[in-house]
């Protein structure tokens, strides 16, 4: 395994080709697999995901991949959850009833409020390009997934639920939707999650993936 190797976990859900292509475009050698040994031996792992939380967790749980992801995360090597993959890093979700997550980052997944900050209805899902912002108390993104990103650059979001981390130290970037703060990037050491799709975010997204494969 060399530095640019990335393993993308295949648990039977969603848009794996795009993630793979994005990483390959950035120069990574990508393996898409559900094989436990390959995942455990990887130098970096992406947990992708499109779809419903319960289906995602079922997909992981039925093959025991939930334990593999947690064991891998404990190894200290980089793990990137994308969209649903990020949300599953948290403890729990309220999407279609209560669902337990992987519990790798303290926090929970909740529905994006249907009222914006002016108490007016706004569109759910949150679909579209939105700009990345530094959360209060954070001055820069050096040393994070967003190392090469300038605050204000836009990435592509599509989701109806959002991640609420328990501790602000795990909050790396936000975006504002209808004035409501939404977690865009969360992280705890080697465990990182982004709500947006870097593989769908044009040049800014590719820059983020490129940084990830060089971590």
């Amino acid at each position: 395994m060399n530095k640019l190797d990335v393993v993308v976990i295949d648990y039977g859900i969603g848009n794996l080709l795009s993630v793979q292509r994005g990483l390959e475009y950035c120069g990574a050698d990508v393996t898409v697999t559900d094989d436990k040994d390959i995942i455990m031996n990887a130098t970096r792992v992406v947990l992708p995901g499109v779809g419903a939380f319960s289906d995602g967790m079922k997909g992981l749980n039925k093959t025991g991949l939930n334990h593999v992801v947690c064991d891998y995360a404990a190894s200290g090597k980089p793990l990137l959850g994308i969209c649903l993959g990020m949300q599953m890093l948290l403890n729990e979700s309220e999407e279609f009833g209560f669902n337990q997550g992987l519990g790798l980052i303290p926090g929970k997944v909740t529905a994006i409020p249907s009222l914006n900050i002016e108490n007016k209805n706004h569109k759910i899902p949150h679909i579209g390009w939105n700009s990345l912002k530094l959360p209060e108390g954070r001055e820069q993104w050096d040393g994070t997934l967003l190392n090469n990103v300038i605050p204000g650059e836009s990435v592509y979001f599509v989701h109806s639920f959002m991640a609420e981390v328990s501790s602000s130290e795990h909050q790396i970037a936000n975006c504002l939707y209808g004035g409501i703060k939404i977690s865009a990037v969360i992280g705890s050491g080697n465990i990182i999650g982004c709500q947006f799709h870097p593989e769908k975010s044009g040049d800014v997204g590719l820059k983020i993936l490129k940084h990830f494969i060089n971590l």
């Binding site: 292509r21 390009w129 799709h197």
Partner: protein, 253 residues
């Protein structure tokens, strides 16, 4: 705050990018992915691929086009035309699509909307509506790429589809499509007023001012364009600059 999306719509027949008028009389434009790549490089926010004959002749797969596009294009791709089952959706996503657009089969079997939303998330389930004006403020739903009437009322249908879990509505005016006469503003307004999911206005964009009109008056959340880009009457970048100058919030690159 609304982030308005500028979307390139590519209607496909077999291996070709095509364009019609009122969804008929299709003319071949060229290679779908040469155009898609150009729009991507110009900064398009999303791309929609629609297989124009899929419903009529069975699933005429866009798979190869989408797979090839996914190598170089890193913005969201919606794929529609001939999606009939969860397996079709799964396969389409595995080719690199992010969302599927469903029209004919959703009309025949509305539960498919719920099934797709439950299995893949509602953000993946785009309801494609082909609307034809039948009397002032009334539009009928058509299927099979504008060929077949359904006697369904557009307003009732979009509400029902939203309840079933549609996450987005691609709203095409058959009357305006390919005419360059501007969007059907009353149609777009009627739909955006009634649903809470994003609405993509499609059909009729003749000039940049049509874009402003459909966003400001019609309250569209996204604008699909075909002809205006395919025939290089405008570039994505110019449209983006124009939108910003009109105070419309689009992605600032």
């Amino acid at each position: 705050m609304r982030n308005i999306r500028l979307i390139a719509r590519l209607d496909i027949k077999g291996p070709n990018l095509i364009k019609g008028i009122h969804l008929e009389g299709l003319r071949i434009i060229g290679s779908p992915n040469e155009h898609a790549l150009r729009y991507y490089n110009e900064g398009i926010d999303e791309i929609i691929y629609m297989d124009s004959v899929a419903s009529l002749y069975g699933r005429n797969s866009l798979d190869d086009i989408v797979k090839s596009a996914a190598k170089d294009i890193f913005v969201p791709m919606t794929v529609g035309g001939g999606i009939r089952s969860l397996d079709d959706v799964s396969n389409t996503l595995r080719c690199g699509a992010d969302k599927v657009a469903v029209n004919s089969e959703a009309v025949k079997n509305p539960e498919l909307i719920r099934d797709i939303a439950t299995r893949f998330g509602s953000q993946c389930m785009v309801l494609s509506v082909e609307a034809k004006n039948i009397s002032p403020d009334h539009w009928e739903v058509y299927i099979d790429n504008g060929r077949e009437r359904t006697h369904l009322d557009v307003i009732e249908w979009v509400q029902r589809a939203e309840d079933l879990g549609a996450g987005e509505i691609l709203l095409t005016s058959i009357d305006q499509e390919g005419t360059r006469r501007g969007f059907d503003i009353p149609l777009v307004e009627a739909v955006t007023k009634i649903v809470s999911v994003p609405v993509i206005a499609s059909g009729g964009m003749g000039s940049s001012s049509d874009l402003a009109k459909v966003v400001i008056e019609g309250k569209a959340d996204a604008v699909a364009m075909a002809d205006i880009l395919h025939y290089e009457r405008e570039t994505v970048n110019n449209l983006r600059k124009y939108a910003l100058s009109e105070g419309i919030e689009v992605r600032d690159i």
